[in-house]
């Protein structure tokens, strides 16, 4: 058959892989024993998780008086972590859904793990509002159910309630999208399973996937529809998160720029977290042929773009604070840059605006160690962005008599550490037991390498009889 081959394009997968090579490379690590590097990672991350679990247990028993909050600074570490983790999740959806709609075929190597990252990040994020309620065992009160109190219904006009619906929907749809995407790969694992347990397990998980063309046709359509649904969903989720701030009358929060500013920041932070994880997974799971210079380069370029939008938003905020002529707005922004939390503000600006500029250089984009370090810096910067927005806007109130300072307690810090523990433990378990790369999708885009794959199949097994 005539195939369109463009030699000017770099292949998406290195090393002249045949279909079978793809199956082998992705499945083999799941069927063998884990590497020492994996054991080291999981030990460290589960210790972090354990520390966090102890901290959360303690604050549930004693109450959130264990935090460093006061009457003036009523939101700080906890909500910072919540917004940070939700933001991390958004890049996963960007890669799996938005890039799918834009037909960016390079996404096939990274979409599975980016989606997994979304799910784990949303799990981490969900913990924080839950413990912030103080009595997490009553969390079901946020749901509209006929109750014995009247029924007294929930307040549908509150952005905090919108959050409940946005985050739950986001989690459910992301999880469904991920499971649907896994079906063909579960079938591959089932059909090559050697042990009885694995066979039985993947027999259940694959739901009897056969590779039938009729199923594929419906599956592709459903995948497209889910991508189409997830794209506006991801924008709505962070828009709603920004409403938590924008609908209040706190200077520094009460601005119309918040929804696009938050969405751009979310995708920016998420992309840098995807890069961090990809570069780790690439080494730990030996996926050098699948996550190539091209993938890392494409993500670096997205980061430059998103970083630009974030930088523009920082500038716009300052301009509008001055241009508005509002004394309170002016004060908040002057205080941000020169007040007691100036160190946090300038950490944020350095990490989020200066760091991405290094990625303009191809030499730096192709040095994976440097890219890894830069992505870590952006993660730090984006955490500080939320901290700056929340704490600096609150700690200097309208009334100087209620001005206060804030510093986190050990419980709050341990909770943050614990959320990282949960995230990395979940990610490492995922790397170990599920295919990190969507095999069926990669086989579909071997494209350029396809002709070589065909020829190789003949060479290896003899010409067709």
């Amino acid at each position: 058959m005539a195939e369109v081959l463009s030699p000017a394009r770099e292949p998406l997968v290195d090393g002249d892989k045949s279909y079978h090579d793809v199956t082998e490379d992705i499945c083999r690590p799941l069927e063998g024993r884990p590497t020492p590097l994996w054991w080291g990672g999981i030990t460290l991350s589960s210790l972090m998780l354990l520390a966090g679990a102890v901290a959360v247990g303690y604050q549930c028993l004693v109450g959130i008086g264990t935090w460093g909050l006061n009457r003036t600074v009523g939101w700080a570490f906890d909500i910072t972590n919540f917004v940070f983790w939700i933001g991390i999740g958004h890049a996963g959806t960007l890669i799996s859904a938005v890039l799918f709609l834009f037909r960016q075929r390079w996404r096939t190597s990274v979409n599975r793990s980016a989606e997994a990252m979304t799910i784990f990040a949303v799990m981490c994020a969900g913990i924080f509002p839950l413990i912030h309620m103080g009595r997490p065992w009553l969390a079901y009160w946020v749901l509209p159910y006929p109750n014995e109190r009247g029924p007294l219904w929930i307040n549908w006009r509150s952005p905090l309630l919108w959050d409940v619906f946005a985050i739950s929907t986001y989690f459910i749809i992301s999880f469904t999208f991920w499971l649907v995407g896994l079906l063909p790969d579960f079938a591959t694992l089932r059909d090559r399973a050697k042990t009885k347990t694995r066979k039985a397990l993947f027999n259940v998980l694959s739901l009897g996937w056969s590779g039938s063309v009729r199923t594929w046709q419906r599956y592709e359509l459903v995948y497209l529809l889910l991508a189409g649904l997830a794209t506006p969903l991801v924008f709505s989720v962070h828009t709603i998160v920004s409403f938590d701030f924008a609908t209040s009358v706190i200077p520094g929060w009460h601005t119309t720029i918040f929804p696009p500013y938050f969405v751009a920041g979310a995708i920016f932070s998420g992309l840098s977290m995807v890069l961090t994880l990809m570069l780790i997974a690439r080494k730990v799971m030996r996926l050098e042929d699948y996550i190539t210079k091209r993938h890392v380069g494409a993500m670096c370029k997205l980061i430059i773009g998103m970083g630009g939008i974030v930088g523009l938003a920082y500038g716009t905020e300052f301009f509008i604070a001055w241009y508005s002529g509002n004394a309170y707005e002016k004060f908040v922004f002057a205080n941000r840059a020169m007040g007691p939390f100036a160190w946090a503000y300038w950490t944020m600006v350095t990490c989020n605006v200066v760091t991405p500029q290094f990625l303009w250089f191809k030499k730096i984009r192709e040095n994976f160690l440097l890219v890894f370090l830069l992505s870590l810096l952006i993660n730090v910067g984006m955490w500080f962005e939320r901290f700056v927005i929340i704490v600096t806007s609150l700690h200097r109130d309208y009334l100087p008599s209620s001005w206060a300072d804030y510093s986190p307690t050990s419980i709050e810090i341990l909770t943050l550490v614990g959320s990282f523990g949960l995230f990395f433990t979940a990610f490492l378990v995922f790397c170990r037991f599920l295919p990190v790369i969507a095999m069926a999708e990669v086989k579909g885009v071997l494209g350029y390498a396809r002709r070589q794959a065909n020829e190789k199949a003949y060479e290896k097994e003899g010409a067709p009889s």
Binding site: N155, R157, W209, G211, S212
Partner: protein, 176 residues
């Protein structure tokens, strides 16, 4: 009654596509084609009609939208009207975010449920006729059923070989 079912196994996408087209032209009854990934152009080669799952998605989304708007309106303005900051009981603009989320939730879950039902995917279902384990790895299989009025086995074998089939399997299938 039993019918004979022939399965030709191919190594590449291009071969199975070409073989499917000619099998259809020859007038074979094509039972199914099994592939490790979605082969573009296979729908046309088989003459499959577009799936109607889009409509399921739309209807589920519409149901979600109506339900969310009704629930918010009914609870805020009918069941127990509560004055929140002097806002009107029926504050429609404030109901938009949740109405949107529920629309997406219903449309997404609805269309996936419809896919599972329509494609008969469920835990423990037997995947396919045995002997084709490699179609989830690196093989493409074209399955046809022989009927009295249609061309015979040798035509199919010739056609498959011409398109580079690796092997042709032959088995009996019980039909009711």
């Amino acid at each position: 009654m039993s019918a004979r079912v022939l399965t030709a196994v191919f190594r590449t996408e291009a071969e199975v596509l070409a073989a499917t087209r000619s099998a259809r032209e020859e007038g074979f009854e094509i039972v199914d084609v099994y592939t490790p990934y979605h082969v573009h152009g296979m729908d046309e080669a088989l003459g499959l009609r577009p799936s109607r799952l889009t409509w399921v998605c739309f209807l589920c989304g519409a149901a979600g939208l109506l339900l969310a708007l009704w629930l918010q309106f009914w609870t805020s303005a009918v069941s127990w009207p509560l004055n929140v900051g002097g806002k009107p009981f029926d504050s429609m603009p404030a109901f938009v975010p949740i109405a949107f989320e529920i629309t997406v939730l219903f449309a997404g879950l609805g269309v996936v449920a419809a896919l599972l039902i329509r494609a008969r995917l469920r835990p423990g279902r037997a995947a396919r006729p045995p002997g084709l384990e490699r179609v989830t790895d690196d093989r493409f299989a074209l399955v046809v059923r022989l009927t009295r009025a249609r061309p015979g086995q040798h035509v199919f074998e010739g056609l498959s070989a011409a398109h580079g089939a690796e092997s042709v399997l032959d088995r009996l299938e019980e039909t009711s």
